[in-house]
Structure formats: structure tokens, C-alpha cells
């Protein structure tokens, strides 16, 4: 069902359908835009993550994400609210990633087509789980040692190379790589355990 209007669909009990829980509104495209923006906002990070699985530098990721954002906006009238937004958006992202990579002078390294299929399936299959893990990240970062939080700040706040960070802070690149690997591993263990624990607690 394309988002031509924002009239709330009502089920037999008279409850608004969860997918179109907007207040009844005039049948104009502004309301469709509201739905689009809401969906876009809710799925933005997953879309960025999907792009980031294929391009490993932030500049490329930002560029592609912006292209995808615009393409989605231009084609928003074709968004079918019966579909999941992320699945629809990933279709655009695939095209933009491919276009971006083919534009580069030097061949960009990325995943194979088979791996990409698996990644898409994973996003589709584990959408809720991924979101829960990302939500648990705050809890887990707060539990990292001071030093590890400082390293995360260095790595993610300043978009400079790890070599530069290591040099500026008196570490060897290897030491920084190892510590970063350890931190990521700890975060992964923590978020998976936290989500599992919350699931067990009902």
C-alpha cells in the first residue's frame, strides 16, 4: 500500500493499525511524509550499519548514506507501509553502494555477493535483536574501565587514523589495535549477555 495518504486504518475492534498510528488527517502527502520521516528516523542507524558492512571508511559511508537518503526521499511515494522500511531502504542502499564503488578510481574492497546476501538476511532476521543489542551498548560502555572508555573516545570522536591516535598518545599501533579488539569483544559479550538476561527475565 503506497503511502498516498495518512488516514489511519482501523481494525475490526476499532483500534488503529500499528503501522499507521497517525491521527486521522487530511489525505494529503504531508501526512505520508510524516510516516516516511518517522520510519526513516527509526531505521536510520540500521541503514547506516548495512552500508558500513560494505564500506569500511566513514567518508564513503556518509557519502553513500546521503545518496540513499535522498533517493529514498525522492521515491517515498512508492514506499509500501505493508513492507518493512529497512527492507525497502536496503534495496536503494544496494544500488547506491554499487554505484559508489564503481565510481572509485581504485577498486574498493568489499564483501562478496554471497556474503552480502547473508548480511541482508541477517538484518532481516535479527532486526529486533540488533536494535536491542545497540540499545544495550550504553549499559555496557558505562561498565568499561576508564582506560577503555578513553580509547573509544579517541577512536570515535576524532576521525583520524588509528596510527595517528597511537602516535599522539604514546602507544604502538599494535597495542591500540589489540586494546580496541579487546574492547569490542567485551562490548559484544556484554550486549549479548545483557539482551539474553533481559529476555530470560521476561
Amino acid at each position: 500500500m503506497p503511502t498516498e495518504s495518512c488516514v489511519a486504518s482501523v481494525d475490526e475492534s476499532g483500534t488503529p493499525d500499528s503501522k499507521t498510528q497517525q491521527s486521522p488527517a487530511p489525505q494529503d502527502s504531508v501526512c505520508a511524509d510524516d510516516i516516511f520521516i518517522r520510519e526513516f528516523a527509526a531505521n536510520q542507524r540500521q541503514l547506516q550499519a548495512y552500508i558500513a558492512t560494505q564500506v569500511s571508511n566513514w567518508e564513503a559511508m556518509d557519502e553513500i548514506f546521503q545518496r540513499v537518503s535522498l533517493a529514498l526521499w525522492m521515491k517515498r511515494s512508492s514506499f509500501d507501509v505493508q513492507r518493512t522500511f529497512i527492507a525497502w531502504a536496503i534495496g536503494f542502499a544496494k544500488i547506491e553502494v554499487h554505484k559508489y564503488i564503481s565510481e572509485q578510481d581504485r577498486q574498493m574492497l568489499t564483501l562478496t555477493a554471497e556474503a552480502l546476501q547473508a548480511v541482508e538476511a541477517s538484518f532481516d532476521r535479527s532486526r529486533q535483536l540488533l536494535e536491542e543489542r545497540v540499545t544495550a551498548l550504553e549499559f555496557c560502555v558505562a561498565r568499561l574501565p576508564i582506560r577503555h572508555r578513553q580509547i573509544l573516545h579517541l577512536v570515535y570522536a576524532e576521525e583520524v587514523s588509528l596510527q595517528e591516535i597511537a602516535r599522539d598518545h604514546g602507544m604502538t599501533p599494535n597495542s591500540l589495535y589489540l586494546q580496541l579488539k579487546r574492547i569490542r569483544s567485551a562490548l559484544w559479550k556484554c550486549v549479548t549477555a545483557k539482551v539474553a538476561a533481559e529476555a530470560n527475565n521476561g
Binding site: R45, S56, T110, A118, V119, H153, Y156, S175, K181
Partner: protein, 492 residues
Amino acid sequence: MADWPLSSPEDQLDDLVNAVLNDCANAEEWSTLSTLIANNPQACDYFTTQVSLHVKLRQVYAKVPADMLAPSKVIPRHEAAIPTPGAVARGRGPVGNKRAVLLTLALAVVVLGAFIIWPPDVPLKHLASITPAATPIADIHFIVETDVLTDSSPVKQVYTGERIVLESRMAEVHFVNGIQMRLAAFSDVTFEGSMNCVLHRGRAFVTVPEGISGFRIRGADVQITDYGTEFGVSINEDNVAEVAVVKGRVGVRPEQSSTETQLQTGQGVTIEAGVLKRLYFVTDGSFPSTRSRSDSPPLIIDVRDNLRDIDSLNYYRVAPGGFGEDARIYVDRPHEFNGLTNAGLPKYLLGADYLMTFNDDKRQNLLLSVTLSQPADLYILFDDRIEVPAWLARDFQQLPDYVGIDEQTVSTGPERLGVGPGVSVDKRLSIWKKVIKTSGTIELGPVGAPTGYSLMYSVVAVPHRVEVVERITQTPSATVPKGPEATDGRGR
């Protein structure tokens, strides 16, 4: 592919994912990662989760540009090809300005929302201002049951000169310089600085990152200096100390001596009244390096040999419950056990206790004494290419299964270890079994005639379950389930 437990992604996968996240993966690494995630949903899940966390961390920690709310900064930079809101407003594009602003604001709200909910961490330079008295040298986290989550608050910051006694729980100390020290319960430590500690009593396992050297632990009678490594140290009530190096190099000097003994990977010593003695073996539980994977009491409780004199620095390692895919085989080699095929390792060996032997011990006069704490099924995993020695053929029964070996060799160029069953398997070991009906010491002989290529055998032990054996032996042969107990012991 490996069916690894959720809490321990394979090292190889971890390395590959980190290479991608660090934007330094080469073509081969992208290719290997692709293969892993295309074939293993768990690996794929790990990758997508790590990338999602990576994106979220960047979103949270990245600085918000002051002009982030300005629509022109959010819309694509390819102004010539794609209309900017400004251009749209001037009627040069199909997108209405109002709509572009809506999109832009949505983007901005989402990005800024993350900052409102979860502000960036305190940067390094601000640390002094929030700790007016002194700068902490470390913080301590208690380790709870899952071995993953720590207590809900960073338990304690540690300052120079503090003495800490752990009353009941294991804890991890994270020094500001990246050194980590895991302490067993009841340990008693004084922190003299981020590079110096006194272990009055207890057990510690220290991991020192690359690039740092000189971390020192003192006991009543000994001083231990790290030279870039992982090592365990324990000091008991009688001030008897044990030191074992898991990786790297450590110097040990008795308090009254001016000579430092250098220990390397797989080496250890006992220090008693200022005298260095042999450390025979180390189990997973000797130091708080990792939790024992076995809930049962250890099966292998002592190991002796006739090859090393009392001053030998090399120790055997026992891994309680540690037998499984990619488990390290030898003390002195990085080779790993793996299922010969994708079917994996024989199920009756999974989770067994095993003894890490020395691959260099292929000598004709070897006599290895292994002491078991209870009746056990004892398995010898023996290099399939070499002649079976008389003691093995006489006392043990060969089973029809095999165990693969994944070798890391440099003789024909560096070869990386594979991950999981049936991957990168280089050799195979036949399986020989003997039921040991009482606890005690069993003596094992040498490999046999030494060759230029043979591998040392491995020793694996599983608690013997009498009732199961009795039931099987009482079952008519026609209905005996096919398995190791039901074979003639020679079938291949």
C-alpha cells in the same frame, strides 16, 4: 564451520571483523571474512552486530558540527548531480524545500537524540578535573557469574599506595596503561603504581599489552618482572610462589638473589624460601586466567616425566573440560585439535579433560606418569603415520574414529590455523582407549622409533561411567549400538 559458543567468537573471525572496522582489511581478509559470514549464520550475526555497535559508537562519540541543523550540510555533497534544498528552493529540482527540510530535521533529531540520551565520555584531558585528589591508576571490576557482565557500577578506582583485599569474589583490575590483572578471590594486593604491585597472598593472571614492558609484581621472597606477556602468579600462606608464563617473557628473581631467571612461553617455576624449583604442571584453575570449563572435579591431578630434571622450566598444562574444536594441543606448538571432517570431533571426547604435552618429547626413553583422581576412560590420541608402540597396542584398544590436527607451520611458509572442524586439517590422530577402573597413577611410554615428522601423543580423560558400560556389555550383539564401545577395536 565452527559452531562456537556465543561467548567466544573465533579469533580469526574477530581479527577479520576488527580489520574491517579499523578500515585496514586487505583483499584476502575481505575474501576470508566473506566466506565465513556466507557460510556461518553465527559469524554473520557477529559481524552485523559489531558493525551496528561500531556505527552507534561513532554516532555517540563523534562531535556534532555546529551547523548540523543546517539543511545544506545534510543533503548530498554532489551538488552538480543532486539538487540541494537551496537549489530546490530556487526551483531547480523536483524536491520541495519543505520536504527536504523535514527530512533534514528528522536526520538531525535522530543524530542529536543520541547525544541527549547518552553524552560522550569524558576525554583524557578532563580527567584531572574530575579527580581533584589524585589520578587513579586503575579501576577494579568484580566478575559475576556470567564472566561477562560486571557489577552495575565500576566498583572502585584504585590510587597509588592502596591495599586491596578481595573478600569473596574474583575481580579484574584495569590499569590506565592498558595492563589487566585478574585476581582470584581472597587475594591481597598493594598497588604501588601502575607498574608495580605487591601480591601478599592470592592468585593473579596478568595480561600486558604490546609495547609495555617492566610491570613488576613482588612477593615476600620473589620479584617478577614482565617483558611483554601473559603470566600467572600465585603466592600461598607459606609464601611459596608459583609463576607460569602463558605467552611472552618474564623475569623471576628470588629476593635474596641478584640473578634473574628468564622464563618464556610454557615455562614456570616454584619459588620456595628463595630457591627456584620445578613447576610440573598448570591447570586452568591454577591461575584466574579463564574459568574452568568443567563443572566436575579435575580428573588429571598430577603429571611427572623422566625427561626433565628438577630445574626444568617447562611445565605441562591440563585443560579441565577443555577438549573441543580448535583447542590447543601442545605446550610448545600452536597446533589445534579439529574434527577430521565437518562432522566434528568424536562426541565422547568433547568437553573432556586433556593434558597438553610437549611435541618435542618424541624420545625413546620417555616415561610419562599421569595421576587420575577417579576411574576414567583414558584416551591416547596417536599420530596415525607412525608405528604403534608395544605399550599402546598391548594396553589400549583402538577405536574407529580419528581426530584431526590443524598445524601452524612455518617450514613451507607461514600457514594460519583454520577455524572449526574439517578446515585446514593437516594430520590425523588415531584414538586408543583404556578403562582405568581405580584412581591412581598410570604410566605411559614413548612415541616409539623417532622419525623426522612424527607428532607427540595426547592424553585425554573422561570420567568412567560404570552403569553405561555394564548396560552395553549386557546387550545382545545384534542390538549393540554402533559406537566406540561396540567395535572390535581395530576397524578403520
